[in-house]
Symmetry: D2
Subunit: 429 residues, 4 copies
Amino acid sequence: MTDQALDFSIERLGECRIPSPMTGVPFTGDGERLLYHDRFEDIRRFLDIGADPPSMELAGPRERIFFDPTAIACGIVTCGGLCPGINDVIRALVLSLHHHYKVRTIFGFQFGYEGLVRRHGHRPLELTPESVSRICELGGTILGSSRGPQDTGEMVDTLEELNIGILFAIGGDGTLKGAGKIAVEARRRGRPISVIGIPKTIDNDISFIQKSFGFETAVAEAQRATYAAHTEAAGHRNGIGLVKLMGRDSGFIAAFSAIIDSQVNFCLVPEVPFTLAGLLKSLEERLRRRGHAVIVAAEGAGQQLLKTAEERDASGNVKHGDIGIFLRDAVKEHFGRSGMEISLKYIDPSYTIRSQPANPHDSALCLLLGHNAAHAGMSGRTNMVVGLWNHRFTHVPIALATRERKKIDPEGWIWSSVLASTGQPRDLG
Amino acid sequence: MTDQALDFSIERLGECRIPSPMTGVPFTGDGERLLYHDRFEDIRRFLDIGADPPSMELAGPRERIFFDPTAIACGIVTCGGLCPGINDVIRALVLSLHHHYKVRTIFGFQFGYEGLVRRHGHRPLELTPESVSRICELGGTILGSSRGPQDTGEMVDTLEELNIGILFAIGGDGTLKGAGKIAVEARRRGRPISVIGIPKTIDNDISFIQKSFGFETAVAEAQRATYAAHTEAAGHRNGIGLVKLMGRDSGFIAAFSAIIDSQVNFCLVPEVPFTLAGLLKSLEERLRRRGHAVIVAAEGAGQQLLKTAEERDASGNVKHGDIGIFLRDAVKEHFGRSGMEISLKYIDPSYTIRSQPANPHDSALCLLLGHNAAHAGMSGRTNMVVGLWNHRFTHVPIALATRERKKIDPEGWIWSSVLASTGQPRDLG
Amino acid sequence: MTDQALDFSIERLGECRIPSPMTGVPFTGDGERLLYHDRFEDIRRFLDIGADPPSMELAGPRERIFFDPTAIACGIVTCGGLCPGINDVIRALVLSLHHHYKVRTIFGFQFGYEGLVRRHGHRPLELTPESVSRICELGGTILGSSRGPQDTGEMVDTLEELNIGILFAIGGDGTLKGAGKIAVEARRRGRPISVIGIPKTIDNDISFIQKSFGFETAVAEAQRATYAAHTEAAGHRNGIGLVKLMGRDSGFIAAFSAIIDSQVNFCLVPEVPFTLAGLLKSLEERLRRRGHAVIVAAEGAGQQLLKTAEERDASGNVKHGDIGIFLRDAVKEHFGRSGMEISLKYIDPSYTIRSQPANPHDSALCLLLGHNAAHAGMSGRTNMVVGLWNHRFTHVPIALATRERKKIDPEGWIWSSVLASTGQPRDLG
Amino acid sequence: MTDQALDFSIERLGECRIPSPMTGVPFTGDGERLLYHDRFEDIRRFLDIGADPPSMELAGPRERIFFDPTAIACGIVTCGGLCPGINDVIRALVLSLHHHYKVRTIFGFQFGYEGLVRRHGHRPLELTPESVSRICELGGTILGSSRGPQDTGEMVDTLEELNIGILFAIGGDGTLKGAGKIAVEARRRGRPISVIGIPKTIDNDISFIQKSFGFETAVAEAQRATYAAHTEAAGHRNGIGLVKLMGRDSGFIAAFSAIIDSQVNFCLVPEVPFTLAGLLKSLEERLRRRGHAVIVAAEGAGQQLLKTAEERDASGNVKHGDIGIFLRDAVKEHFGRSGMEISLKYIDPSYTIRSQPANPHDSALCLLLGHNAAHAGMSGRTNMVVGLWNHRFTHVPIALATRERKKIDPEGWIWSSVLASTGQPRDLG
């Protein structure tokens, strides 16, 4: 992304005139900002042309707020695939809105954006501190989810009818873009509705978010699959364990799984191309040398090998051919031809991973994301997401967060660590 | 099994003349026996015809043993699919043989019965208390495994060459039958070689064994999959979670998974037939009533629906068509036709389950199985397995243990509990 | 216990005239019984004197029941210390009473027997399938608990006022005795009130119950403490890890912890006396030989060393001096005097263990105990507990279950396995 | 810390003339640096006086290295208390030195700095990829540990005798200071010995290290204790759960435990003073309002209440009176006097927490710390630690890292989140 594109300014509904009902906590000043860059040479480029270096607004409770908490309802919606921690975020939002701000009515819309469209007939749930008290011990989302967009006008109609002041949208790329459209439509209608996104991407692929919630839980869970793959592989002559992990466009889960589980010998991600011949040659060498091997493949890896026409799912994501099944069959065929007897076990743990409850670290992350989202909404910010940068919580415009996906840099330290940990050749091509 | 078939007498290599080197533990008398039946009416039938009611020899250390521990080597072999606890059994055998009996040489044969056949070229490992000290924290088998029989003569040749006094075979139905053949061949050659089986069946389907090692760990792990299935199902409109679990001939894992996880709505096992139409009708009713459903299917369930020719795998087990894939496709097709929009998630956790380390309960079971197997072998018993009956460890002839598989009784308390827990109709036909 | 004492006959409120509303499950016949003994010589003693060998009634749903389920309310009370699985039992009772029998009102009494005494002011909770749906994922008891007896008359008054037909009491020795008194008082008043106990003893020390719920979870959790003790011990020169576990009168948890975790070198239980000098001598030898040691002590072990006056807690249990603190100080003092530099770490994990949710095995056990308790109550049985014997669920009179505690037999296979696993001297005296 | 103190320059043994044997990975340039500050106003202060803003050297493999890997041995020592992940760091060092650099001899010194002093008689272990292969699955340290300093000269003698080129010291504040002295003494002798520290502090209290290894595992494990405390508290009338956690000088573990487990009502840390009267008043209010309460106290909290003389342990840390025992007794006494019947359960899980194996996140962190420490040592850097800053690995001089402890800022976002999460009064004074 070019530096020129880095506009971190946050849209606001109006002036904050109401004293915050929160007491006993330090407030964050509106001018407190965090540098986007962390190398001096990057910053100097801006100084050299007389510009301020790009920086993000820090999240946190404000001393004065925009909304009268007793005069509005709030709404929460969860969209897209499951991800550890969604219920934690719902709970944190409800607790903060209720206890910190004394908001009286909080609606949970059911089954994603469908729940915002009256004709689908899903009645919004009323959420209270009691009803959300222990939901963080459960995986999934108590609100249900669905994929794909709905009509923006109909959704804003519902928000108006229910007197929603702040809508919190928990979801990925498509969901956030949809949230942005709601914010724009509300502005067009002159309705002061704040739309705050909490980025949900188990793949950790949203820009300007150093680590998204659920990612650590997913990587930890993935280790159960790579452990099984290694155990199966090591338990048989020429055993091969093949694990397909999540990661359509970015291979962060696969990469960290390879770093964590040193029994992984090959890590395949969308960002680093490989050829089937290159992989098979390296795999055969490994088998001859050590007698077993473990391969981890992100679902978006090696897509050029699958030659599928461009299809898209209900959320608008490009549909991928199944690299796991493809590799399973290709490896079996190869060694069948070459006469080397192998034992391949294929594991696809995706649903088991994504339906876990958040681990303690992710729980804390979700709590703080939820609190800061509530603070941002009450202060009248809109069309933004709550992010995490350099261990601090920040505000990022939706437009910026969704402009392009975050990817592994094949020249950076993550991929370098994968290579150092797996010992796989840099070039499997 | 008819009562007449219940011959629990154990083959012995000869008289026990050597005092056991074990000290400080109570010994088990050779005449100590456990009743096979637990209802008086069953016992009375024997008394009425002047016969003794059937009973099993109790396992345990004997005061006098058959082998001079310093004069023999022992061997351990692990065969068939992985199962939690194999390494625990290996370790228990090594520790007992070394510490209790002072056996000096213990070989671990690699990759199943292949490791007993010289021309395969797998060198036996020498096992010591140090080398097995913490292997129980690892899943799988440190010895490796393979399926299928090998030539009995060649295997006995190897045992003779290595001066093996006792061979411990950890494996399922086929493995135990192979062990029985080794015992017979050794007897034919006049070689005093004891062959002791430790029944390994994650499916818990070996007769005269109330609970086999690894079964509880497997059921506990399976809960991760049913949890995920429920979370996914509940998170979507008309969500269906479908889990395929192990259980080729007996559905114990599926049944206990349904009892444990009350979110399971349908449990399908080999022992209880159903029709596709019956299942789909009930499933549709459930969706209309509650909006989501979880199905658990043992891999051997509904085989008549799959119409596969009878194929057998390398171990001689009948190969099954894949009921999981079949149901996944049949359910999708049905609701596609009927126009009811569903969201089905299919989970096949088998490899992840069976490669887990044993849980604490299974660890204890494995330790005691291993100790008792060592005691049985040192006392010159042969052609038998160590079993568990009414919370006691017993000796069971291989012929009896492998005559037929243990199955769920559709009229008994286990299936009754499944029906009470799932609420599924007794007849899905 | 002498054989003459074995009266397993169950008290019943009257004839069962009402057809069970349960459908689609096999019923248990009233005459189905399970032998108490499992050795033929024990049974022959009875036959020789012309008596029937003792046997227990099998639990299970009956075809005809005593109560009209629509005409009564039911009550549940939980007493004494926490134990994994209490919430599972509550849930199973509510689901069975509601779904199997269509009972309309189920009360949960709060804070133990206090909740049955009106003047304490704890309002009973109304329990429904919804309110108990996921409580099995939580440790503890949603009803709260308390120790000690309450006035029997006042409690029966409350039962009468609330039209309670069946009271389910989940608790240990003292609770069950209290439940027996309630049954007697109700009978005296001519009120058909069934009192069914579900034995709760994390120590696994109730007679005629082969394994009580929560015990396996407790043993598994205890392993975390022994693991830590070993890790600390092995990480330091002359490191000693000392773990105090539950077990006031019976050392089952300590014994199984020693069997499961082979790093345990000394296991001390109430059933097997030892002297301090004997322990210290053996411990010092172990340190000189191996450099570290792990000791597990049941809380009731070595009480004769503590010379405390006989005090009793609110539940009437003998209060024990703290063997953990005593040993910690005695060991430190000994090696301080002897000049051997040690590093002792003392771990007391009791509260963390007992507040865990049940593991999958215990969950299944609790479900089946709860179902069978509901069946027993609906059939008009009273003054009894639901037990587990030889893998079957049975009915046991309260008087028999509470007559004496189940203990480890120092000559039996459990203690023999502890000695074989730890390698500790049989005599630490 | 004043800005002037921020000297991040790293001491180097000499020029790097030898090409790195690593292939297939991107190298880090020597000039690549990371800004220490993340707010523009902090950076501008330096620019305004014509100075460069402070920055840290980035860690990573260098294209040219200082040592000839085949000509030196390397040494590893672990000191101080246990912490999850030590074995992971040992393993990462061995694998990197062996595979990346082809170092032939790697010594593991036993029992901390004692192992570096010949007269203690602990023989160094020789570490190989095989011997460390699966040690990351174990808690503790395979090398053993000890507290306290040893004679620097004797230690350098040993390093010289064994031809150690790089010494890796895994330990806390005191250990790192000791490592610094070794570096200085080696320089004084003109011996090119690199000394690289890997900061180990379960308390997360070392400056310039955003998150130390083991911290996340510790926080996750601590949740087991707070969960138990809440379950016990909620299970009894006026139940109080009191948990003492690690944190002598900095309360990060207690603070994050309170953020993660929303059942925590009071969090006490060394950085935020409180009075006993203030705490008891607030606690009593909470009990009257909600019936139960959970308190988490860092071990260094409320030290002024304990009035202990300043004692120091073998590592030179100030010895603390036991705030857990103090609070337990003070709370009991208070409510005993006031006549309010409470049920207090006190839990001290420290040993169980610190002896856990690292969780997956910490495993990855340890792997990367170990790799980067190896890279730093091979490049001839010395007297430094490997740190983590803004998600990147960096080099920090030992003098800077140990100058003062990192503490919670009572005005910052962490404490603010604790207050928001617990709802405790800002002032417990």
